[in-house]
């Protein structure tokens, strides 16, 4: 059982306060969704948890250890990260996946992978026909899926996905979310940021709502998806459509 706790982190970048006293925790098996308008600090929060940004104050802990006291190698055994914008690199999809699986240990042609799991991810995301293609010659959405496949293939404790469904059609977006749910059921921590409030409401167990770098809501669906709170953050009204007691869609009025 792993617990990740974000404790009062404060992040300044170039003299600007980007995150202000953010605290929440995530347990094994939980899907946490970070939501908020553009520029609210979602990406910065994920990158701070990953450790590429060091907070001015506060800490991120896995169990009792601060992630900032760990080496990159140690952190790589804990986190799998998917950035919002995925780079166009001159590798084939299969190389990308292999590099992700091997990490810095990549030497010779060692294929160290749980092949059944990787193969099923490729099938779910319909990526098989693209595995020998170069990342530079496939579409933007396919490129995103290639990186999603890489990040999902890794066997770690926590998955930090920044807008995993951006650039994806509905079917693929749902598939990606289903795969994240499978990981959570296997006891992994999933933290993802998104602008898609419907997907957020349908898949996440817990929500972290940011606005101008401040934590304005944290908790379950009923704590965060309150019309008044969403209106104050996004500046518009939302329809929160429920079916059989659970939220089936969140759309702007």
């Amino acid at each position: 059982m792993v617990e990740l706790s974000v404790e009062n982190i404060v992040v300044d970048i170039d003299g600007n306060r980007i995150l202000e006293s953010i605290s929440f925790s995530a347990k094994s098996g939980e899907i946490i969704c970070v939501i908020g308008p553009n520029g609210s600090g979602k990406t910065t929060l994920l990158r701070t948890i990953l450790g590429v940004i060091r907070p001015k104050a506060g800490d991120v802990r896995i169990g009792n250890r601060s992630i900032y006291s760990m080496s990159w190698k140690e952190k790589s055994a804990i986190f799998s990260y998917l950035p919002q914008d995925v780079p166009k690199v001159p590798f084939t999809v299969v190389e990308l996946i292999i590099f992700g699986l091997n990490g810095v240990a990549s030497h010779s042609s060692a294929v160290r992978c749980n092949s059944t799991r990787v193969e099923s991810i490729l099938d779910s995301l319909e990526m098989r026909h693209l595995i020998s293609r170069s990342i530079t010659t496939i579409s933007g959405g396919e490129r995103k899926l290639a990186y999603v496949s890489m990040a999902l293939s890794r066997d770690v404790d926590a998955y930090l996905f920044d807008e995993p469904t951006a650039h994806l059609d509905y079917r693929h977006a749902v598939e990606v979310m289903n795969l994240l749910r499978v990981l959570a059921r296997r006891g992994k921590i999933v933290i993802f940021a998104t602008h898609d409030l419907t997907l957020a409401a349908r898949y996440a167990d817990k929500f972290v709502l940011l606005n101008h770098g401040k934590l304005v809501g944290v908790g379950g669906l009923d704590d965060v998806f309150r019309p008044k709170l969403l209106r104050s953050v996004y500046g518009i009204e939302f329809y929160i459509i429920r079916k059989n007691g659970s939220v089936s869609a969140v759309v702007p009025k």
């Binding site: 590429v52 990159w72 299969v94 190389e95 292999i98 810095v104 030497h107 992978c113 595995i131």
Partner: protein, 339 residues
């Protein structure tokens, strides 16, 4: 049969190993040609017998052992060094157009070397130290200006600014250099004229550990190319690896520039062609570029010393004439670049 990750990957690897074998044959052929062809041509059989230690006392052996062998070995080593410096800068800057020449490394090295030659009377074996300081200065400035942002325009513009700055400073030094200007001008042409075993040993002992270090870095360069955040999440200490890659690229450039002059475009053309034939995985790209770079420079040097024999054409100028249109082609067709 459906293609799995493992079968697809095995397929790619075995294809690449075949290409590496072909490139090693090409290297061998260019090596033998480089020794065999010249103002006095030596039959290939004699070349091979001589290299095997037979035929020691013949006239051909004197030419081979004293003149052609050191020259071919130095050109091959220099070609490998320049090609790998290109692989390193391209991975570090995440840009296929980033090469030591375009980033201005060679100009930085030339500038500091000119000071060393004109004002410090630096001894022969210490020249690479000055060239290294110059390349490191240039690449640090480019990095400070352009960063590793995948932005080709920023990178090329930074390279232009740095190259112009250092070449102007070099011109000023030349202007006030008096009689020593001739030494520098001849050296700026770039070439392997009069290369001796002394040069070979300095280049060989200087470059071998660096070439080995670069090969050891290959897997990490692949990860670095995925961007800082992904690379960090995969366990790479991004800043340290980038610094190491920049230092190694500067060292490789420095060794070559010190003894052969500022030879451009090898670091651009060779990795680019190799990327087309073996892909961008640095574990294959690096050995492929080393072998192809070695063959390339050996063959161009062969042209340089035979085209108007007994006189020689300046090697740097020939590669410049070949390389500039290639660079222009890449810039014009950058949408079709592999990256």
């Amino acid at each position: 049969m459906r293609e799995t990750v493992e079968t697809a990957y095995r397929h790619i690897i075995s294809h690449r190993i075949r290409i590496l074998l072909i490139l090693s044959v090409l290297l061998f052929i260019s090596f033998i040609m480089g020794i065999s062809i010249g103002p006095i041509s030596i039959p290939i059989l004699d070349v091979i017998l001589c290299l095997l230690g037979l035929h020691k006392d013949s006239f051909a052996a004197v030419i081979i052992l004293n003149i052609r062998l050191p020259r071919v070995l130095v050109s091959a080593l220099a070609g490998a060094c320049l090609a790998l410096a290109g692989c390193l800068t391209q991975a570090t800057f995440r840009n296929p157009l980033a090469s030591p020449y375009i980033l201005g490394l060679s100009y930085g090295a030339t500038f500091v070397l000119s000071i060393a030659i004109v004002y410090l009377d630096a001894p022969f074996a210490f020249l690479p130290i000055f060239a290294f300081l110059g390349s490191l200065l240039a690449i640090s400035l480019v990095f400070a200006i352009a960063g590793s942002s995948w932005d080709t325009a920023a990178l090329i513009l930074a390279g232009i600014a740095i190259s112009a700055f250092f070449s102007s400073l070099t011109s000023l030094i030349l202007y006030f250099a008096g009689a020593k200007a001739y030494v520098i001008i001849f050296w700026i042409f770039g070439g392997l004229t009069g290369v001796s075993w002394n040069v070979f040993w300095v280049v060989f002992l200087g470059s071998l550990p660096i070439l080995i270090a670069v090969a050891g870095l290959a897997g990490k360069l692949n990860i670095l190319m995925l961007g800082d955040d992904i690379a960090s999440s995969l366990g790479l200490d991004v800043n340290n690896i980038r610094l190491l890659a920049i230092i190694l690229a500067s060292l490789l450039t420095a060794i070559v520039v010190s003894y052969l002059g500022p030879i451009g475009f090898v670091g651009l053309i060779v990795p680019h062609i190799c990327r087309i034939i073996v892909g961008s995985d640095n574990r294959f790209l690096i050995p492929a570029s080393a072998m192809f770079g070695a063959s390339f420079l050996t063959l161009v040097d062969l042209i340089a010393r035979t085209a108007i024999a007994p006189a020689e054409l300046p090697l740097g100028a020939i590669i410049g004439v070949m390389g500039s249109p290639y660079f222009a082609y890449l810039v014009r067709n950058r949408r079709r670049l592999l990256w």
